[in-house]
């Protein structure tokens, strides 16, 4: 019995070694992307991924797999509704289909889209309002040893209605390898340089550069609980040496008419110091402004002040207020 256990241990070691050699000598080349620097709101844009396969199959045989590719874009683009992907390669060209939500990525137990988000994150973006969308080729392709090829994946989608500055994410992988955390050969990903959407709605949403003032969640209504953050580490402001920071805020209706203004420095308007020159305050706007049931706050205008209210910081460290519009789309 003991002898058998010994043999099975050797077999597992051998299998592991074989797998390690196999994995170490086979895989995908690094991914490079072509992304325009800017596009106009609602414009349909093509993003191009260049990659390659380097099959090094021990002991002959072939390696058969489907191509997997994904991109990470702001949720506000609604890219799931209009994103298409296709590829060209020496082994043939083809279209790709979105992997259904119901199909789970085996390693994580999540949908492929959620698994990609968990694995690759949001890159250099500072605000998490992003989604990964993963596609797969409709056909499988077989490789023999040393059959190196380069291939190109094109992703096309509309860029949404909002002005923004964002870094986009790109992923290429192999369907039979899944998203194993330890694997570095079969999943290649990268993030683009800044991509700007212009001529759209609203103020510029800057996902990349640290902001003096941010609001979470990015999309909310006046009955949500929102968190306003002041990051004094972004630049020097008049509040640099103040021990406490307060919120001065106005609530406006749809027509831009003032509903209420709160500018007193009290416990209710004092931000909490969370370290690193960052401060935050959570408010439930409807309760904070005691709005009547039939009125709705359309947007906020706000400043951060010292305890006297005389020193004030606005948008971009100017006298202009920060603005936040309540919206879900």
């Amino acid at each position: 019995m003991k002898k058998n256990t010994h043999y099975s241990t050797y077999i597992y070691w051998a299998m592991g070694l074989f797998l390690a050699i196999f994995l170490a000598q086979c895989g995908l080349k690094a991914i490079s992307v072509v992304v325009p620097t800017a596009a106009k709101a609602n414009q349909r844009v093509t993003f191009t991924m260049h990659c390659g396969a380097e099959p090094r199959i021990q002991g002959g045989g072939s390696y058969s797999t489907q191509l997997v590719a994904g991109i990470m874009v702001p949720k506000g683009w609604n890219a799931r509704k209009n994103l298409t992907m296709s590829f060209t390669s020496p082994k043939g060209n083809g279209t790709m289909r979105i992997i259904p939500d119901s199909e789970l990525e085996p390693v994580s137990g999540l949908s492929w889209h959620q698994a990609a988000k968990k694995m690759f994150g949001i890159g250099p973006n500072l605000v998490d309002d992003m989604e990964w969308i993963v596609f797969r080729s409709t056909q499988a392709y077989s490789f023999v040893n040393n059959e190196d090829i380069d291939f190109t994946v094109k992703a096309e989608c509309n860029v949404g209605t909002e002005n923004m500055l964002v870094s986009l994410g790109f992923y290429i992988g192999s369907s039979i390898e899944n998203l194993r955390p330890e694997d570095t050969d079969y999943k290649k990903f990268t993030f683009s340089n800044a991509f700007e959407v212009t001529d759209g709605e609203g103020d510029l949403i800057d996902f990349i550069n640290p902001q003096l003032g941010t609001v979470q969640p990015v999309k909310s209504l006046d009955n949500d609980i929102i968190t306003l953050t002041f990051d004094g580490g972004v630049t020097n402001t008049v509040l640099d040496h103040e021990s406490a920071v307060y919120l001065h805020v106005r609530a406006m209706d749809e027509s831009g008419k003032l509903i209420a203004e709160i500018k007193k420095q009290t416990a209710d308007t004092k931000l909490t110091d969370i370290g690193g020159k960052k401060y935050l305050i959570d408010i439930w706007p409807r309760g904070f402004f005691k709005v009547d049931k039939d009125r709705h706050i359309a947007r906020l205008e706000y400043f951060y002040t010292d305890i006297t209210g005389t020193k004030s910081v606005g948008y971009g460290n100017t006298d202009e207020p920060f603005k936040y519009t309540f919206r879900c789309e």
Partner: protein
């Protein structure tokens, strides 16, 4: 073998005696919010939860504290979608709004019954979970 048969038979008898009728869920009481999460982020320590209260009264009415961000405000009537196997509590606000269906769970945590309500307050993309305990230590 005889012992085994006797054992199986006795199990059968015991199982037959276990009542299978599920007790009705009773959410009546004065509840206070003890934990609040927004999109999975715990906000409990940053918000003043002491005034976040909900009353589900025995006469089928409910009332929401003025300070509590909630999917409805004020008062109204409530019912469970199924008295024995409920997944949701259905709120009918007094002020003529449509019924609001709230998903809930009713686990026992640390020996105390907990009422967990899941809802969106504003945008449907934002999900809040309120974990509540009965006031005055009731179970």
């Amino acid at each position: 073998m005889l012992v085994l048969c006797w054992g199986i038979n006795s199990c059968k008898d015991e199982l037959g005696n276990i009542p299978t009728e599920e007790a009705e869920k009773d959410i009546t009481g004065n509840w206070k919010v003890t934990q609040l999460t927004r999109n999975g982020e715990n906000l409990s320590k940053r918000l003043k939860l002491e005034n976040f209260k909900i009353d589900f009264n025995a006469d089928g009415t409910y009332s929401i504290a003025d300070d509590l961000p909630f999917v409805v405000s004020g008062s109204g009537r409530y019912r469970l979608d199924d008295p024995q196997y409920p997944f949701s509590v259905v709120l009918s606000p007094t002020e003529g709004k449509e019924e609001v269906v709230l998903k809930f769970q009713f686990p026992v945590v640390n020996g105390k019954r907990q009422l967990s309500l899941v809802m969106s307050l504003g945008c449907s993309s934002n999900t809040y979970q309120y974990d509540c305990e009965r006031l005055n230590g009731g179970i």
